[in-house]
Point group: C2
Chain length 193, copies 2
DNA sequence: TGACTTCTTGACAGAGTCTGCCAAAACGGA
DNA sequence: TCCGTTTTGGCAGACTCTGTCAAGAAGTCA
């Protein structure tokens, strides 16, 4: 019971809205579902929906329900071991903390289909990735890395290894562990043409 | 006079709208300017604006006025020489073909400020980069590269080297040639931690 | 030049997104 | 139970974007 009750309620409500929304998306298609419909199905007002998520795409990018929020990567970063960093972040995605599982109906990647297929969602996710890679860059700079090296490194890991692996993992049906994809991608990064 | 009159008119009209829009943005701020105002100032109807650009952000991502359109990278790609590929693409950005210059009031990076600063524009640009990196990936695959290697390579070059350099170049005031940033970034890519 | 076809434009209506605002309701601690 | 704080709902309104259709401009051919 680490979180105050109010926050837990908020968390549960957010998860409920997300799950309701994805149910509707699965049934009617992302573009055919309006925020008004989601709100009605979830038993809240549209105004409340926007307070929670800011936009329809916000369903997929709002902390702590994002693919991975910028706030959440920070604790995993070890600049002396970037491959290990990537693997820890991945573990956080595939094995969410217990208190989240308790209120979540589906797995954290339930909405991944829409992240990959819907341009609007994809754009929102890229914005989140952008934010994450910026923080990553800043941390690398603080460690003494040059601006160019930090920028290229952060982006290569973030967009190339992380998001790329997440995408391919999903496209392949999530049969093999995500970690395998990360390992492959990390190896590929060492062997660029 | 390579292009038919209709297309030249269209091109000129698009450039005129873009320039008008950026004038307004510079004066009032991106968020304070509505499409209706842009259209009025450019002497077209809002409907026409949407036909040209699809959205307000489309001003920055619609071919051939995008930072770089997916269609335009293809001719520059030489899979046996990726650094050279990057440099040719950069040259296309900084040295636009004559027929474009003729109808363009400002330099091609006139709107770069908004690309970097406005979240909505940035998201749209990422969508365009995403599209570009996908095509890049496909081409690499056709050349026999493995799926993972192609994905990581395309993303590292596209998001890490290309967009990263473009961003830093602008942030530094575009004093040094963009090519220098590309060269630096390419070197950094060979020396990832 | 005049007619014919094709593409482009403007106007309008309407659905959907998102925000500011304020009063009502719910909550959680004392 | 009571009270201060937080959350919610409802409403008005601005803005974005799309479908549709008739009017206008551009290009073609005789």
């Amino acid at each position: 019971m680490a979180l105050p009750l109010r926050e837990r309620n908020r968390l549960a409500a957010a998860h409920h809205i997300i799950d309701t929304a994805i149910d509707l998306f699965d049934e009617h298609g992302y573009g055919q579902v309006t925020v008004e419909q989601i709100a009605a199905a979830a038993g809240v007002s549209p105004r409340t929906f926007y307070r929670y998520f800011g936009s329809k795409e916000g369903l997929f990018t709002t902390d702590p329900y994002a693919v991975i929020g910028a706030d959440q990567i920070q604790p995993h970063i070890d600049l002396d071991d970037l491959p290990g960093t990537l693997r820890r972040i991945v573990a956080a995605v595939t094995d969410p903390p217990p208190e989240e599982v308790a209120v979540r109906a589906g797995p954290p990647w339930r909405g991944m289909h829409y992240v990959l297929q819907e341009p609007a969602v994809r754009a929102a996710v890229y914005a989140a990735l952008d934010e994450g890679s910026r923080r990553f860059t800043d941390l690398l700079r603080e460690k003494g890395m040059s601006a160019t090296q930090a920028r290229v490194t952060a982006r290569a890991y973030w967009f190339g290894v992380y998001f790329g692996s997440l995408e391919q993992w999903h496209l392949d049906g999530r049969v093999r562990p995500l970690g395998d994809y990360i390992d492959q991608a990390l190896a590929a990064l060492q062997d660029l043409p």
